[in-house]
Subunit: 215 residues, 2 copies
């Protein structure tokens, strides 16, 4: 954590403030809830958002965690909770079938776009989330991932061929390892000024942090 | 869930509305945060609270869940989160050493008092939580549990001898089984009008439910 003095200096510097790191997996409906809010929230406090895709499956294998919706009792409850959270937030929620699905193509596509145009990647990333959990669409295939990207002006054939190459596979592996190194164990996971916030339900604490420079 | 018509009827009936069931374990600091708020929250919406102690250790063994603070990564994060939650709520937080501790004597004492005077049991229950997590006091021994109860006017020698009897042991086992049957998998856990809310961080949803009769 920074000292109060350091925080004030950063706050006074405006746009030079460090971005909010937003770790997510396109297969997480709670990350969808986070994605619906994080850019607007950051803008209010003059922060950028660094969207960082990762793979919960890899992290859960390392931490011996079962996927939420597969856990006895908690899984059924989480489904009920998820719908309440979406209603409270005023966003549509429809789960694709099957769940969980592979988010590897979407994550790779996101990184390929991010390395070329960060703002575009975020728009398409938001579109992936909206398709998967707003409309309940299966976005697990490379073809669907490319189709949605082209609707936002991305060169579909370049993206499709990139998805099969070793370079983007290695890029995603590196991202997942970076998330693990950063202590990420679930999604959405936010880090701001070195302070971690886990869960769409901690965005009120995140906002409080942004508003006060830590409290 | 009830129909809208049934909810309106219940809402109109005032004090005959069903109580909020509050499942807790005296060893859970998040349950402490819940205990700090639940009675005031319920009063706002003209509801009673049924305080129901249980043992997370038994439930976690059945659901193969590790205690939160012993989980890799998540445990360290939870400690940070817990302190932020307490600061946001404006309540003191100090953890006893050792953690987790046995809450069996406190739970048995609570039930013994509850069967005699529900309001008194709740006052002492709140005092147990405040001692354990407000003051960081070790409340794991029958002697400490009795001492705190006597400060609230409980007959200490009657309570102390009751704590060793089979009757109260069976009473707590029945409570734990009832919690498991109700689908409780963590603490605090609230049920109102058949709707479950898990976590001190879902009390905003619980309040929304109370205010609207479901939403």
């Amino acid at each position: 954590m920074m000292s109060d003095g350091a925080k004030s200096t950063v706050a006074a510097a405006g746009k030079t403030m460090s971005p909010i790191t937003f770790y997510f997996d396109f297969t997480s409906p709670y990350a969808y809830l986070g994605a619906c809010r994080i850019d607007d929230l950051a803008r209010l406090y003059d922060r950028d958002v660094d969207w960082r895709p990762m793979l919960l499956g890899v992290i859960f294998r390392q931490t011996s965690t079962a996927p939420l919706f597969e856990q006895p009792l908690k899984g059924d409850y989480a489904m009920q909770d998820l719908h309440r959270c979406a209603r409270a937030l005023g966003v549509p929620i429809n789960l694709p079938d099957p769940m969980p699905f592979s988010s590897v193509p979407a994550a790779r596509a996101f990184l390929w776009m991010k390395d070329r145009d960060d703002a575009l990647a975020r728009r398409v990333g938001r579109a992936y989330f909206d398709a998967a959990f707003g409309a309940g669409r299966d976005i697990s295939s490379p073809e669907t991932v490319v189709e949605i990207a082209t609707e936002h002006g991305v060169d579909g054939s370049a993206l499709l061929s990139a998805l099969g190459e070793d370079e983007i596979k290695a890029r995603l592996r590196t991202e997942v390892e970076a998330a693990i190194s950063a202590g990420v164990f679930g999604a959405p996971f936010f880090v701001v000024d070195g302070e971690p916030f886990w869960g769409a339900d901690r965005m009120d604490h995140l906002e409080r942090w942004l508003a006060s420079g830590g409290w």
